[in-house]
C-alpha cells in the first residue's frame, strides 16, 4: 500500500493526466447529459449571489448546481492530492524556463507556484494587484466574453468539432504568448521582482 502511495505521489506524466482529463467529457455526459465546462461556475456564482437585476444573470442557476458541486470537487481534490499524495521533491522545470524566470526575478522554485509572487504578504502590493486582482479579472471577464475556457472550448468544444471553439483556443494561446513575451518582462520589473 505504501509503495502504491509512493508511486501515485510522483508527478504524473502527460500521457496519464491528459487522457484522464479527457475522460471527464464522456463521464459528465453519461452521468447526466452535462457538457464539460468550468468557467460557467463563475457565472453561476454571480447569478446566485449578486445578480443585481442584470439580464445576463437572470436564469435558473439552481438547475446548474451540478457545476458548482463539480468545482467544489476540484477544490477538494486539490486538498486530497496535496495532503495525502504530495510529492516531496521540488518541481522539475525545463532548464531554459528556469533561466528565463531567474532573469525576470523569480527565486523560489520549490513549489508549484512561486512564493515570490503567490503569498499573502504580496496582496496589497503591485504584485498582488497584477497577479491576483488584474490577472483574476482578465480570466473571469475573458472567459465569459469568450463563452468558455480551456475546458469548455479547448477540450469540450474541439472534441465536439466546434470550429468557434478552435478559434477561441487559438486566441487563448495568442493572449498567453503576448503576455508572456511582450508584457510580463515589463510587469515583473515594475512590480519589483
Amino acid at each position: 500500500m505504501e509503495q502504491l502511495i509512493d508511486w501515485i505521489s510522483q508527478p504524473w506524466p502527460w500521457y496519464v493526466a491528459g487522457p484522464l482529463i479527457g475522460l471527464t467529457v464522456p463521464a459528465l455526459l453519461i452521468i447526466g447529459n452535462k457538457s464539460f465546462g468550468i468557467s460557467s461556475s463563475l457565472r453561476h456564482a454571480c447569478a446566485a449571489c449578486i445578480p443585481a437585476k442584470i439580464p445576463f444573470f437572470q436564469y435558473d442557476w439552481k438547475k446548474e448546481i451540478w457545476n458548482i458541486l463539480f468545482v467544489a470537487g476540484i477544490f477538494l481534490g486539490g486538498v486530497i492530492a496535496s495532503v495525502f499524495l504530495s510529492n516531496p521533491d521540488a518541481i522539475v522545470l525545463a532548464e531554459s524556463t528556469q533561466q528565463d524566470l531567474i532573469q525576470l526575478g523569480i527565486t523560489d522554485f520549490r513549489n508549484l507556484l512561486p512564493a515570490d509572487i503567490f503569498s499573502w504578504s504580496n496582496l496589497f502590493t503591485l504584485k498582488g494587484l497584477f497577479f491576483f486582482v488584474i490577472g483574476g479579472f482578465l480570466v473571469g471577464f475573458g472567459t465569459r466574453y469568450a463563452g468558455g475556457c480551456t475546458s469548455g472550448h479547448a477540450i469540450m468544444g474541439i472534441s465536439n468539432l466546434q470550429w468557434p471553439s478552435l478559434v477561441a483556443t487559438i486566441f487563448f494561446m495568442l493572449g498567453g504568448f503576448v503576455m508572456t513575451h511582450l508584457l510580463l518582462p515589463y510587469i515583473m520589473q515594475w512590480v519589483g521582482l
Binding site: P26, I30, K34, A45, L112, G140, S159, L184
Partner: protein
C-alpha cells in the same frame, strides 16, 4: 416582461448547459462532486495547476502541457464519436445531447483577454479551485477577482461587440 425579452436576445443561456431532462437531487448530484474530486487530483498530480508549467507552455520550452491538452482533446473526441456512433444514453436513459457553440466576436476578443490573464495567474478557472485546495490560499483573491470580472462582463454584455 422587459427582462424576459432581454434574455431572449442573449441566446447563449449557459455555455456548459445542463441538458438533462430529469431533475437531480441529493446523492445523484454528489456524483459530480466525485468526478470533480478525481479531476482535481489529476490537476495537482500532473502539476498542470503550476504557474511554472504554464510559463513553460507559453515559452514553448516543454511539450508537457501540449501533451496534456492534446491527449485530453483526443480522448474527448474519440469518446464523443463513440457516444454518437453507438447512440449511447445517459445512466438515466436519456439520449445524450451536446449544444453547438455559436461563433461570436467574443471568442476572439474575450479569448485574447483570457489568454493574457492565463499567463499572469498561471491558471484557467479549473486550476484556480485546485490551487486554493492545495494550499495556495491567496489564490482565493484571484478567484474573487475572476468572479468580479465575470460580473462586469455580464453587466456590460449588451454593450460589447459580439
Amino acid at each position: 416582461m422587459k427582462v424576459k425579452e432581454k434574455i431572449e436576445s442573449n441566446p447563449v443561456e449557459c455555455e456548459a448547459p445542463n441538458m438533462g431532462k430529469s431533475g437531480e437531487s441529493g446523492w445523484k448530484l454528489m456524483r459530480y462532486l466525485i468526478v470533480g474530486v478525481l479531476f482535481g487530483i489529476v490537476f495537482v498530480k500532473a502539476e498542470v495547476i503550476s504557474w511554472f508549467r504554464i510559463q513553460e507552455m507559453f515559452r514553448l520550452q516543454s511539450f508537457f502541457m501540449y501533451g496534456v491538452i492534446g491527449s485530453a482533446i483526443l480522448v474527448g473526441l474519440i469518446s464523443i464519436q463513440l457516444i454518437k456512433r453507438f447512440g449511447i444514453k445517459t445512466l438515466g436513459g436519456e439520449p445524450i445531447k451536446i449544444a453547438d457553440k455559436e461563433f461570436r466576436k467574443g471568442q476572439i476578443i474575450g479569448g485574447f483577454i483570457f489568454g493574457l490573464g492565463w499567463a499572469l495567474t498561471g491558471a484557467c478557472p479549473g486550476p484556480l479551485f485546485a490551487q486554493i485546495g492545495s494550499g495556495f490560499s491567496v489564490v482565493a483573491v484571484t478567484l474573487l477577482s475572476a468572479i468580479a470580472g465575470t460580473w462586469v462582463y455580464g453587466k456590460f454584455a449588451d454593450k460589447l461587440p459580439n
